[in-house]
Chain length 142, copies 4
């Protein structure tokens, strides 16, 4: 899976008194898109958790270009921009009717969670690693 | 502990595009007040969780009278309105500068959470039960 | 429109450290279902706002029966349970794979918002009132 | 005002099913600290909004080092890291008992909002600009 498009509609509690989506929700949108991408790849972060593997976020950033408003429909274009043995970095581009709304990045790390042990970064399991390929940024997105 | 007053300021993401606090946050305010009340009573829901005891909410309600806005300061007046062996029902009155904003109710139940066992309602531990007394509703609040 | 079914999946930030959906989100789910119902009826709360009409919530309640967890899919069954000239009361039943999760109620009131004037409750416009009919509670739901 | 320290306690709905604070809340914490800093400087974003001036966020980022859990107390150390005629960039360092939790950055831009006009970036009013000075990063924070 190289790129994934996640369609979403702005819900009312995501807006703030300035009449636009509160910026913290953009980070939730990217994570939602990620989880949807994983499900589309036959994976589930919920299932991973059950086998003692977690994926904490170690970095996240956004540049905001245009606001989103209540009931707007938009797309999250999600790509794997970088892959190391223990980490994945996604790039995310939000568009509404083709117009650029925001561009972001989110990096996650694979950890083992076992009861009574400290959380420890580990190489991601091969069955997960092989599902994601780094996608070259197309020129139109540059 | 009979009544507890929790002071809070409205934060920006709690507002919505109508310019007022989104109604779902009132339920968060009551729970915050509850946790603060427990800490004031020398208890902690976090610690309880560690000894395998949880307090899920089984009912919650609110009647909304006046809106709250960004940066408003208000008080949650929290009381134990009913106590059974397994449950506590709180009543909550929100006031801003003395003015009634909203009135609510929240009922919690004591459960045992053990790995590999279904969650089960239990009598609340005596050291917790004895901390809370049912408070008669004063006439000024009627 | 008598009953409306809104399908939703639990998103990760809606869960809490007890491993289940935080109860305050159930109120958001009902409002999301309401907004979706309005759109299905050819209406939009966003558009109403533009013509100076708002719909604050004056009451909301829930009884919680079973928890929801990350990635669960569930349905909100939304009905208009009561209609007065100025208010609508919805009943909401949440089900996952047919199983009862929670039952709630939410009452909204029609208000006029004009710049420089106090917010005032008004009779709801006929084009809105005629869209919604009170639905009798079916026996299976009782 | 060069640096501002904002003390905060983790509230329960801010945690997620991984048992830690959901990363999107770190961005809310920084904004809360910012608003508190403004109030301490005799300013209020709510008041600014009333005179037609807004402060949308144009960029935000975080690197997450350690998790926060329910009831943890922590501090947001907020500084103005960069000031241009139209923008302020804050740096934020979150610490719990002195330990580094996360480091972030948030950039805001001054805009004029007038009814019927497009939102427009403007030079920030002098009475605001003079309140904030760029704080050199101390070596201990490097």
């Amino acid at each position: 899976m190289k790129e994934f498009v996640y369609r979403r509609r702005v819900q009312f509690p995501e807006t703030d008194a300035a009449g636009i989506v509160h910026f913290s929700n953009f980070f939730k949108y990217v994570e939602e898109a990620e989880h949807s991408m994983w499900r589309a790849a036959g994976l589930s972060m919920a299932t991973e958790r059950d086998r003692g593997i977690g994926w904490p976020r170690i970095a996240a950033s956004f540049a905001f270009r245009k606001p989103l408003r209540f009931e707007d429909e938009f797309d999250v274009h999600l790509r794997v921009a970088e892959k190391t043995p223990k980490t994945l970095r996604y790039s995310a581009v939000l568009r509404k009717d083709g117009e650029l709304i925001a561009e972001g990045s989110m990096t996650i790390i694979c950890v083992r969670r076992r009861a009574g042990e400290p959380v420890k970064a580990i190489d991601m399991p091969p069955d997960i690693a092989e599902r994601f390929e780094v996608a070259a940024l197309e020129q139109s997105e540059a």
